[in-house]
């Protein structure tokens, strides 16, 4: 069976700013319909630039992007109609009311009036009691939600959230994730950017890592978690040994050069770790242990090693 076509397809996308700075270098990325995709990368990696191009805020220099099969340049109307964007910065019309600004967005996207939908969006985002307030009177977290409401006002199939939790408190973050999950359940594809690993881990189905304008990894979260699930047990030996006894071969141990450290890789998510039997087999082989410790490779480590790679 053929895989369903991606809802967003980015091919060979490059972006050079007017200053001559190359912010994106040959990006290839497909977003699957209905998934939550996290774009993870340090500040300045090019996350906002990539989103800006897909949404029509910046021009691309090279390459091609399609949204729902529509080219973002030649068929921009169809492409943009599908997208709701919540940009990184809080840009709001201070003197408008919440209701007016959200209704404006719906009109701008060419949708007929639908007060019931706007009401639902505002209620979902706990903004209903603020609907007649001027935006200038709202807190930062509420302004962020107003921007989400604007993006959802026209019932987009795709929602971009650029660093949605920057400066947002824990309570609100939780509420926001509930909304995002609800949207996914209703079939909306969500792309969010973040430089917090936990956030990507918590929310996403797939994670893409971007650094210096290049995508260096795209993987299912489950796959990434498996890498993450690997732990290492280090055994400090009382006496140095020259070689690993044949009886211990099945454990695939690694002996350090000085013959005093044995390391054992195991999977915390596996049925059994094998540690208990390893320890008893070691004793049977006459190897005594003075100390032991375990280390875990975190997504953070994976990430750091990825972005440090030349």
């Amino acid at each position: 069976m053929l895989a369903p076509p991606p809802i967003i397809s980015v091919s060979n996308l490059s972006k050079t700013y007017g200053s001559g700075f190359k912010a994106l270098k040959g990006i290839n990325l497909d977003i699957k319909r209905g998934e939550i995709f996290a774009l993870l990368g340090p500040n300045g990696a090019g996350k906002t630039t990539l989103i800006s191009i897909i949404c029509g805020i910046a021009n691309l220099s090279e390459g091609r992007v399609t949204v729902g099969g529509h080219d973002i340049n030649s068929d921009y109307r169809a492409a943009r109609s599908l997208i709701g964007l919540v940009p990184q910065e809080l840009h709001t019309d201070s003197f408008e009311t919440v209701w007016a600004t959200v209704s404006f967005s719906r009109g701008l996207f060419g949708k007929p009036k639908n007060p019931a939908h706007i009401e639902k969006v505002l209620k979902d985002l706990s903004l209903w009691d603020k609907k007649d307030s001027k935006i200038i009177t709202l807190s930062g977290g509420m302004k962020r939600r107003v921007m989400i409401a604007k993006a959802l006002s026209h019932e987009p199939q795709i929602l971009f959230l650029d660093e949605p939790t920057a400066g947002v408190d824990v309570e609100l973050r939780k509420g926001m994730w509930d909304v995002v999950r609800g949207l996914q359940a209703s079939g909306v594809t969500i792309i969010l950017t973040t430089h917090y690993i936990q956030e990507a881990e918590e929310m996403a189905d797939r994670i893409g890592v971007i650094n210096k304008g290049e995508i260096i990894l795209v993987e299912d979260k489950a796959g990434l978690m498996q890498k993450l699930g690997k732990k290492q047990l280090t055994l400090h030996l009382q006496q140095k040994i020259d070689a690993i006894p044949p009886a211990l071969a099945p454990y695939k141990l690694h002996l350090s050069d000085d013959g005093r450290l044995l390391t054992y890789d195991y999977d915390t998510k596996g049925e059994r770790t094998g540690i208990t039997s390893l320890l008893s087999d070691l004793r049977n082989a006459g190897i005594h242990i003075s100390d032991l410790d375990t280390t875990q490779s975190s997504l953070e480590d994976i990430f750091v090693s990825l972005v440090r790679a030349p």
Binding site: A58, N59, Y76, R80, D93, S105, G107, L108, G110, K150
Partner: protein, 253 residues
């Protein structure tokens, strides 16, 4: 055409006008009244008549044009500059709207506002001096054309400007002087012939002359020429706007 988007932008801009009613309508009316007091009463008592009409009556079309020009530019330039300045332009750029729709929304609202303003100023003027409009349809034509042209011009300035100084600069340094020297307060025929030739290089002369003709059938230049120049200027602004959007100039990185 995304008519709903045009409507949304237009109504958004008009709502901004009502919010700033004092600044947008009342202050031009007050300053126009002051012109009448100062020019009409003080100078008018010395210059009794220009080409057969009283001085106070003579300056009305010029005064209206003065306000329509400056307000069209101010409204339209601010209307597009402000979203750029506060960042809300992101939404317009990411919406499924064409450039033509954006222009119609913003320029339409700015022009509407200055047309209303022009009519209010005429009504105010009618309180001070007897006013007679010979060719109301032509009057409206010139009013609308001028409002649209200069709103487009303002829109261009708003996109070009990257700071509030630049936003003020062109209106203050170029448009206001050209308007004052464009025959708002005198007939070009009153000038010595050397000056008259120089004055005819000023595009505003043609706007005011045509507009004044529609009131009193007196004109510095032929009506056809006035209309031609107005349309020519409109065409130039349209080409500029087209170029701006084709290149994404100062709107998109």
């Amino acid at each position: 055409m995304n008519y709903r988007a045009i409507r949304a932008i237009y109504l958004f801009e008009m709502a901004r006008t009502w919010r700033t009613l004092l600044q947008s309508i009342v202050s031009p009316v007050v300053s126009t009244s002051l012109y009448f007091v100062v020019f009409g009463a003080a100078i008018g008592s010395r210059i009794t008549e220009v080409e057969g009409v009283s001085y106070g009556t003579f300056i009305v079309p010029g005064l209206v044009m003065l306000s329509v020009l400056t307000q069209s530019i101010a409204n339209a330039s601010f209307g597009i500059y402000f979203p750029k300045f506060v960042g809300t332009i992101y939404e317009i750029l990411s919406a499924p709207v064409s450039y033509i729709e954006i222009v119609i929304g913003y320029v339409g609202a700015a022009a509407t506002k200055s047309i209303i303003l022009g009519l209010i100023i005429m009504a105010t003027a009618a309180l001070f001096v007897p006013l007679h409009i010979h060719h109301p349809l032509w009057m409206l034509t010139f009013l609308v054309l001028t409002a649209v042209t200069f709103s487009l011009f303002g829109f261009i300035i708003g996109i070009w400007a990257d700071g509030f100084e630049k936003l003020q600069m062109i209106p203050m340094l170029i448009v206001t002087p050209l308007t004052f020297l464009g025959g708002s307060f005198y007939s070009v025929n009153m000038l010595p012939s050397g000056w008259r030739t120089v004055t005819l290089l000023n595009p505003v002369v043609y706007l005011i002359s045509g507009f004044r003709w529609s009131f009193y059938e007196i004109a510095d230049v032929s009506v056809g020429l006035s209309l031609g120049m107005t349309l020519g200027f409109l065409a130039i602004c349209m080409v500029l706007v087209w170029w701006i959007f084709r290149t994404g100039y100062r709107l998109k990185n």
